[in-house]
Symmetry: C2
Subunit: 163 residues, 2 copies
DNA sequence: ATCCAACTTCAAGTGCGCTTCAGGTCAAGG
DNA sequence: CCTTGACCTGAAGCGCACTTGAAGTTGGAT
C-alpha cells in the first residue's frame, strides 16, 4: 500500500476498488466520465473523487442510462468535489422517476402474467401478452411499449384453436 | 386482405401485425424462435401461431431474457399450438421470480437515492452509492450487485473535502 | 543497475440484436 | 407480356459497452 501518495490511485488500484477492469476505466476516461492527472512518466493518477464518479456511473447504468446520458448528467455535477445536496437532488429526482416508471412497467407485466396463468392464456384472441404486441405496432423500435391496456380485442374470427 | 389464405401470413403482414421489421422476423427465424412454411416460390407463410410466439419473445425480452434464453424457454412449449395452462404456468412462474427480483433491485436503488437526497450524499465515506461499488469489487462483471448494504465503512481517513 | 509487474497507446475484436445492402426471384395487376 | 412491389439469400455493417492484443515505457523493489 501507499504506492504513490495516499490519495492518488493508480489505474490498477482504482480498478480493484471499483470492481471495474482497467480497460473499462480507460474507456470511461475516453468518454470523459472520469479524469486523471498524469505522472511525469505519463501514468494515470486518479483522485479519490474518481471512485465517487464511478459509483455514480454504475448507479446511473442501473437506472438505465447510457454512458452518453451519464456523461451529460455528470456534466452538471462538480468535476472533482462532492456534489451539494442541491446538485444531487436534481439528478436523483430524475432518476427516481425513471425507476418508478420501470417498476410500474414490471408490475404491469407481472399482473398480466398472473392473469395469464389464471386463464390458461396465450390463446389467440384473449391473451393480454398477445394482444399487446399485436396491433400495437408502430411506436417505433427500442422502447416498444408492449403491455399497455388493450382497449378492444377487435373482430378476431372467433376463438377456436388457432392454427 | 386475404392475400394468400386467411390464416397464413406473409412476412410483411406478420411484420405489420407484430410491429417488428421483416429483418427482425427473419433473424428470429434464423435463431429458431419462429417457423414458417414456404410457398412453391420459396416465400415464407407464417401460421397465426407465429404471432403468439412473437408475443412470447417480446414479453420474455422485457423480463430480461436473451434471445438464446427465449429459445430455450420456447423449446418447452408446443411448437405451433397454444400452450396449455400447465406449460404456461411453469414459464410464467419463473418469469415472475425474475420480475420480483428486478423490482426489488429497483426499489432498493430508489431507497438509496432517497437516503442520499436526504443526506446530501455522495460524500466520500458515507454514501451508500459510493460504498456499494467500492470494495464490493469482485462478484464478476455483468450482474454486478452494487447497492447491497455496506456493513462497515472501514477506516476512511476522516471525511474532509476529499482531494 | 536491473528486473518485472504494472503501466502506456492505438487498433481491432466481441456479443447482442438487429438493419442494410447487393443481387436476384416471385406474383398479381394493367 | 410487362411492370412493380414484396419477397428471397448471404454477407456485411451498426451501436453499445467493453475487452484483447501488440509493442513499447515506467517505477518501485532488490
Amino acid at each position: 500500500m501507499t504506492p504513490t501518495r495516499h490519495d492518488r490511485l493508480t489505474i490498477g488500484q482504482l480498478a480493484e476498488r471499483s470492481g471495474l477492469a482497467t480497460s473499462a476505466l480507460r474507456y470511461y476516461e475516453s468518454l470523459g466520465l472520469i479524469h486523471a492527472e498524469r505522472t511525469t512518466g505519463n501514468q494515470r493518477r486518479y483522485p479519490r473523487a474518481a471512485l465517487r464518479r464511478i459509483a455514480f456511473v454504475r448507479a446511473a447504468q442501473q437506472v438505465g442510462l447510457s454512458l452518453e446520458e451519464v456523461r451529460t448528467a455528470l456534466a452538471r455535477l462538480p468535476v472533482d468535489r462532492a456534489p451539494t445536496p442541491r446538485d444531487w437532488h436534481t439528478v436523483a429526482g430524475a432518476w427516481q422517476h425513471r425507476i418508478d416508471r420501470q417498476i410500474a412497467e414490471l408490475q404491469l407485466m407481472k399482473a398480466k402474467l398472473t392473469g395469464c396463468i389464471g386463464c390458461g392464456c396465450l390463446s389467440l384472441s384473449r391473451c393480454l401478452l398477445y394482444n399487446a404486441d399485436d396491433r400495437a405496432a408502430a411506436a417505433g423500435p427500442g422502447a416498444r411499449y408492449l403491455l399497455t391496456r388493450d382497449p378492444d380485442d377487435g373482430p378476431e374470427p372467433a376463438v377456436g384453436p388457432d392454427r
